[in-house]
Amino acid sequence: METKSKLNRLQIGLLLLPGLCVFGVFTVYPIFRLLLMSFFDWNFGAMLRQPFIGLANYRQVMGDDTFWVVFANTVLYTLVTVPGQMALGLFTAVLIHGVTRFRVTFRVICYLPVITSWVIASLVFRYVFNTEGLLNYFLGQVLRIVPGNIRWLDTRWSGLTVAMILGIWKGVGWNMVVFLAALQQVPLDLYEAADMDGCGAARKFLHITLPGIRGTLLFALIMLTIGGFNVFTSIKMITGGKPAHQTDTLLTWMYYKAFSTGKFGYAAALSFVMAAALALLAVLQFRAMQARDAKGGIGRA
């Protein structure tokens, strides 16, 4: 019996080995190297001598005015796009869940932006929001409601807003699919019972639907928060961080520091600061959900 279980474990180990090797070589090792790099003056200006400088890179990141600008930009982007995508995604999912005909067609239409390339979508947005772009033409020449062209892409807040609109537009489809799957798992008898109790649609949504898909909501919240912090392509393509890094986010700033100025130590430290912020957020989100779990769930509505 014991030999059999040993054999079993050996078999499991052997089967896991290739996956673990790939994970170790391509994920764990680079992260470990990156961590080491963040404690060294790992910049190309000092390529042949990379002295250990302890926490100096972290201090430099924290003391850098631009870091706080890009950090605020990233947090704002996440704060706006995550609830935006989730609310619109859930709304669309509920609508599609309620119809019986053309359900697949609606799903495909909503999902189209998700499969569009980020680069192409960003370029289209750039074209639309250019100072001489489609939107200004529409507002100024067709509707004639604005006197001159609005500089959408040229200031910090309006540039970021364009990237946020793109982020939401592109993310609604993914949320819709995830929430639609979750909605189908909510037991129908709960709705029937609520009907008999005389509940309206809003109360059913608040007290049955939302608690019923809570797990999926948490999953989406964490995935989208990570996604929000990782925004890169749209910013790089739409504003390029202009004017003077005012619209940069953590990743575009990290890319700039590493590949344009060669300060890899700084960029490595920045990546760990970002990872720490994300981990903290994930823990907080779990806690919040657990607290709500303790207060009430399905059936106790």
């Binding site: 200006g45 001489e132 040229d154 202009k242 004017p243 003077a244 590949f259 060669g262």
Partner: protein
């Protein structure tokens, strides 16, 4: 059966060994291959000349050397060298923007050339001002390869309509910009000037011509120069013209330079010799003229651009040096001049090809143009300069305040 197996094994061994046989015989005279990275764009006439004229000629003259030329985007090449330096996979030779050389030198990846055979003769045949761009701390880390500068391009009709002549002084220039700015017959906004970015390459001609400077002569200090009265005046003038709607171009949402100039939205710009071919290709009907950079208290001073050809420490030095000599020689320089590259070889400069080339108007500008500071921290200084001027033109800071803060930052960077 067994004999069949045996013969199969023998056949297999022979098949595997076959490719090695000619290699054994050729090993003695196998040519060395050097990698040459450049940023002549892949579709350009320069690249055609390089691949079909220059490299075949070089390889015919040097049968023991093969050249593997790889084209990169301009910005990508800089970053690629940084990354390759880290992973130890640098090429033998690269064509580098003159602004990158001090940075690469500080990284310790460039080979000093002063000890190469015939260095004095080779460098003596090139323009002294351009060879200066390859000199760091008394040694030479590259050979000047080609040079360029920017001059004023103006749209003839737009200037006529506004009743102005091509500006000779900076005061005329500011007046002209204000007169041109406004709306055209179709109600579209037009600007007097386009400046596509706010980096040193864009701002230096104004700072210098206003009589200002970025750093001291010995390039060790910025305070008193980058925040001196003339530099501040240049930045103030620039910002005021932007705020009045007389110039633009550096915003993400602006019309690209060539399109705006070609379609009559920008009346003037300061651009390099490549713009001639670009306008010819995209807007052949637009009538334009050229003039020197408008003069101020500092004179008419444009910015020196161009490229050096440099050798990395990991290179096959003998082969790399032979290729560098060839590329800076009269033949290669004259051939490249035919596709718009301004030569630095004095003999090539004296040739009829060069004197009648479309870039002839730029040759005068080159004699007075200045190079941007040749310091290792230039990329960061350049970035900080953009940030400071952006703060001024967006009205967040006064020019004096922004340049004072910048001076302190640049002083620290120069000390690094």
């Amino acid at each position: 059966m067994r004999s069949l197996c045996k013969s199969l094994v023998v056949l297999l061994v022979l098949t595997l060994a076959l490719p090695c046989i000619p290699a054994l015989g050729e090993a003695a005279q196998e040519p060395v291959t050097i990698d040459f990275w450049h940023h002549y764009s892949a579709q350009s006439a320069e690249n055609e000349t390089l691949m079909n004229v220059l490299i075949p000629k070089f390889e015919a003259e040097n049968p023991a050397i093969r050249v593997n030329a790889v084209s990169h985007e301009w910005a990508e090449l800089h970053d690629k060298v940084l990354v390759s330096a880290g992973s130890g996979s640098l090429p033998d030779v690269a064509r580098c923007d003159i602004a990158w050389l001090p940075e690469f030198q500080k990284m310790g990846v460039l080979a000093a050339l002063d000890e190469q055979p015939g260095f004095a003769d080779v460098s003596g045949a090139l323009l002294a001002s351009t060879m200066k761009t390859a000199e760091v701390a008394g040694a030479h880390y590259g050979l000047a390869l080609n040079t360029n500068s920017k001059i004023l391009f103006y749209n003839v009709k737009m200037l006529q309509d506004a009743g102005v002549t091509p500006p000779a002084t900076l005061d005329d220039w500011a007046d002209a910009l204000r007169k041109i700015a406004g709306t055209d017959a179709n109600g579209r906004q037009v600007w007097g000037w386009n400046e596509p970015a706010l980096s040193g390459w864009n701002l230096c001609p104004f700072i210098w011509s206003f009589g200002g400077a970025l750093v001291s002569e010995d390039q060790t200090v910025a305070s008193g120069y980058i925040n001196g009265p003339a530099t501040v005046k240049a930045v103030e003038t620039f910002a005021a013209l932007y705020q009045e709607g007389a110039l633009t171009g550096f915003n993400s949402g602006d019309i690209p330079m060539t399109d705006g100039f070609g379609t009559g939205r920008y009346a003037m710009m300061l651009e390099g010799p490549w713009k001639t071919a670009e306008l010819q290709g995209a807007y052949p009907d637009v009538a334009y003229g050229t003039a020197p950079m408008p003069a101020g208290e500092g004179g008419s001073i444009s910015v020196l651009g161009g490229e050096d050809i440099a050798m990395f420490t990991t290179a096959n030095q003998q082969a790399a040096w032979a290729f560098m000599r060839f590329m800076t020689g009269e033949y290669a320089q004259t051939e490249m001049a035919k596709c718009g590259q301004i030569p630095v070889n004095k003999a090539a400069l004296a040739s009829d090809t060069v004197k009648s080339a479309p870039f002839a108007p730029f040759l005068d500008a080159i004699t007075t143009a200045k190079a941007r500071p040749t310091v290792a921290a230039w990329a960061e200084i350049d970035n900080d300069l953009t940030g400071a001027v952006t703060a001024v033109i967006s009205g967040q800071q006064s020019a004096q305040q922004a340049m004072d803060e910048l001076a302190a930052k640049v002083d620290a960077l120069l000390q690094e």
